[in-house]
Symmetry: C2
Subunit: 542 residues, 2 copies
């Protein structure tokens, strides 16, 4: 028996229209390349989104076709979010930090029609992207006074392009399953893979994100997304903020600049800011050096990688800012878990409290999580068993865009996150490793990260990595790879004995290899893949 309720489609257009009716005067403040403090409102931004939609239609972009952006967080990028997606086109946000070859690859793979681009990235476009075969041209996100010189045809100035257009656009009826946005993961191996978000997934994710035990967003908030709009749609904030009528503060290209962030927070009354741990470390250092404050800031959402407890403690104790530890993925729109204390945690000791805060948090409603062993058997949520994390939910991708070779989805519809974690009885998840880095010894798993963290505590160790190397009896056994502290010369056995009493005996590495340097990715993570290649033929002692 069918219910008799309206079949209102969950589209991004409804978010725009809700803000237009209820919060037209709420501000959007931006730092841009051409203006250190630009101010507009939802009404004006959505009017200009209509102008952009009219312009794109005139340029010949059709329903479902991709329009790409290569841009920082500001009001023009925000206008593109709505002007493109609400007109039934698909917004493809590109990460400018990718290698130029990767950017060309994903533009070609996505078959982008037009590219909206910040002037600072123009040299890249002129030198490399102009050759992309489906690209019909470029729209430079600036006004005529700040246009770069170019010899290319088909280059428009954003402000000139939309200036002559009507704000009224006949926004089409969109089915909620239709695609609205596309974002490629920056995988460490192979070509980037595209996640094609739907209007429905984006709206549901935004609603879940606003819940009090997620980001708790409301009309009383002023939100500073320091996470880029090219990175999983700035964690959904450009959708969530107009949904609840929150003020938006965009840092433009000044993402990593502690001074700008402090100034924006204090002068614009920012209550919530979101970004990766290094952003907050940078801000923390700036605050300590300058003696300045962020008194209006109530909370930060920290994700992208595990947030060190010391950063959370410093913000809480020195600046009364609560850190909301979060975990997600491009494939999850991105939010999977948020770490908010439960009422019963009020009585915990300091140490126990921070041990919980160090975890990635609990599933928000909508996200189903399970951990499994090598044979896909579900493991208990006891806070001890660790297994491969699989997820399901209405804002989790069902497959990658045009990648039939991908293997992350199983027959029951679960997506393999690639993370290894524990889940405690209250549902708090803690990542212990990546599935490709975990060491599989005699059918049991050993966490490489846990061993590394222990080794890093040894006074003679400057950096440590642990990888699994082949073993005739146990399949794999852990090898500890160490960069010695300058001037120290530790004994191998002493380093191995350092694990005694800290882990189960069978976790103890079988050997130590000393190296001058451990290879890192551009974002500072250890390149385990390179290490595994380097030590592929390593012979463990008997």
């Amino acid at each position: 028996m069918q219910g008799l309720m309206m079949n209102t489609q969950l589209t991004i257009t409804t978010i725009m229209q809700h803000a237009q009716s209820n919060n037209p005067g709420v501000e959007i403040v931006s730092v841009t390349g051409d203006n250190p403090r630009h101010r507009t409102t939802y009404r004006q931004a959505f009017d200009r989104a209509g102008q952009l939609a009219n312009a794109l239609v005139k340029l010949g972009v059709g329903r479902g076709e991709r329009v790409a952006t290569l841009a920082w967080n500001d009001y023009r990028h925000f206008e593109a979010y709505y002007g493109v997606s609400c007109s039934g086109m698909v917004l493809h946000t590109i990460n400018p930090r990718l290698f130029p070859e990767q950017i060309s690859y994903i533009i070609n793979h996505a078959e982008d029609q037009w590219l909206l681009i910040d002037p600072m990235f123009w040299p890249l476009a002129e030198q490399q992207l102009a050759q992309c075969k489906t690209l019909k041209g470029f729209i430079i996100l600036t006004d005529s006074a700040h246009m770069p010189e170019t010899t290319l045809d088909n280059v428009h100035c954003y402000e000139d392009l939309i200036a002559g257009e009507e704000a009224d656009f006949d926004w089409p009826d969109i089915e909620e399953g239709d695609a609205c946005a596309l974002c490629y993961t920056s995988g460490t191996t192979g070509n980037p893979k595209g996640v094609l978000y739907s209007h429905r997934s984006t709206v549901l994710h935004a609603m879940a994100e606003c819940l009090p035990d997620a980001m708790g967003l409301s009309g009383a908030d002023a939100i500073l997304p320091v996470v880029p709009m090219f990175h999983v749609n700035a964690w959904g904030i450009p959708y969530a903020a107009p949904m609840v009528g929150a003020k938006l503060v965009f840092p433009g290209p000044k993402m990593g600049d502690g001074e700008t962030l402090q100034d924006l927070i204090e002068s614009e009354g920012v209550t919530l800011a979101a970004g990766v741990p290094t952003v907050w470390l940078g801000l923390l250092n700036y605050l300590r050096e300058s003696g300045k404050r962020v008194d209006c800031l109530e909370r930060t959402v920290v994700g992208g990688s595990a947030c060190p407890v010391a950063i959370m403690q410093a913000f809480k104790n020195e600046y009364q800012v609560e850190t909301l530890h979060a975990w997600g993925m491009t494939e999850m729109s991105p939010i999977g878990t948020m770490n908010v204390p439960m009422p019963k945690h009020a009585d915990l000791s300091e140490a126990a409290y921070w041990a919980i805060k160090a975890k990635q948090g609990r599933a928000v409603y909508g996200v189903e999580m399970k951990i499994v062993d090598d044979d896909n058997n579900e493991l208990p949520h006891d806070g001890k068993a660790f297994g491969a994390l699989k997820v399901r939910g209405p804002w989790v991708c069902s497959s990658y865009y045009e990648r039939p070779d991908a293997t992350e989805h199983d027959a029951e519809g679960w997506f393999s996150t690639g993370d290894v974690c524990t889940i405690d009885p209250d549902g708090y998840m803690q990542i212990t490793d990546r599935t490709k880095d975990v060491i599989k010894s005699g059918g049991e798993w050993i966490s490489s990260i846990e061993l590394e963290n222990i080794a890093m505590g040894h006074p003679d160790v400057a950096e440590a990595a642990v990888i699994g190397v082949a073993h005739p009896k146990w399949d794999e056994r852990p090898l500890l790879i160490v960069v010695r502290k300058e001037g120290s010369d530790p004994d191998k056995q002493a380093l191995l004995d350092y694990f005694d009493g800290k882990v189960a005996d069978w976790w103890k590495p079988n050997d130590v290899a000393f190296v001058e340097e451990i290879p890192h990715t551009a974002t500072g993570k250890i390149q385990k893949l390179a290490l595994r290649k380097q030590f592929m033929a390593y012979q463990l002692p008997e």
Copy 2:
């Protein structure tokens, strides 16, 4: 182009499973007819929901068939919410305050198969409902020690019925558009009309309700729904609470008892309570008389009818409890608007602040509102123009159950609420009248409620009502109907002149009729229909 995101269905089952995984130990506390303070947890309640589902299947109830309840707010009713709806059956909650003939009518109209009933309503069932033609029997919501005596066959004791069943139930895959619950409006005219909620509408409504600018529900809350579970699913709280892991406190049959409410609030740490204004007036009177406090209570949600400002002020000033003024309808699941202040209201004067709080509030995301005149022309949101309120949204009904005669829905999919209101530029809606009570004079509308409120301020008036009566030139003109205060004998013209300066001249009533008594409904509202019949032939003076 279709998005590539999981097609996870929004079903009530996902709420149950989320709570089982993440908040199994959170408590549900109930007052019941057989236990003044029953304690259970989400895990136990959902286990028992599984037992109930197994029992209902054995009783022969099939997918889509209706199972009715006639019960107060407690854990057994909560178990029925999930045991019935998650097994693909439809939960039909019946209002025991309806006339017995109406209850029989809706059981027959809904073709209910079984009725779950509180022992206190058993006499009604035995005398009247046993004749309902589709009812196969009764399940009395109690244990064997408290079973009433009966001569009827097919009467089960709830506890005995589920005791032998497994908690494991193979919950079916449900399409989100499938019906989950049915609730009849208690219309003042004609037979009650059924609203058939879908899983999707119920889940989306629950998510919206939890948003910070709606009820702001979180795992830190303990919620006391004083609004009955037979009245629009207790405003969705039985779905929203397990979605966020909030503790539930059910008052059972003690809804109107200030002493019980105060005791539940203080002893169970209730942070949010929800109900109609008379409940809060009752609690307020009890608190003032007893000198007792409700210090843990942070906020109340008040809807059902306009909340007098004096009640809101008393709770805020005397007890530091914030009132969230809300508006909704059975047809809207029910939430349409919630009144939460905007940041800019922080600087308002006391008077201006309370003038905003008196309004019904702003549309929550998902609800579209417009006001129209007699010709369906949209009126401005200027806080002055008042028109008939129409709404759309994913939790608004698209038609009534098996009522092809109903006319509330228009061709564009808007639902006519029957309310007349203003909407200000910030989106705050204020109800000024009902469409059937507004007086239509020369194509313009006059608010009967506004005239009544003014008349009530006259020292000689005990009660006042205003209705429209036929007028040869203006179609309708207002007639003021007055019950005089004992011992007073006001002059008609003096009463009419009392409106001078308070309303536009053309709003001034044309005449006054004195009566001994004004007829009221069971819930204390003026019966305008009866008054219109009484004064149908009334001749206004020239």
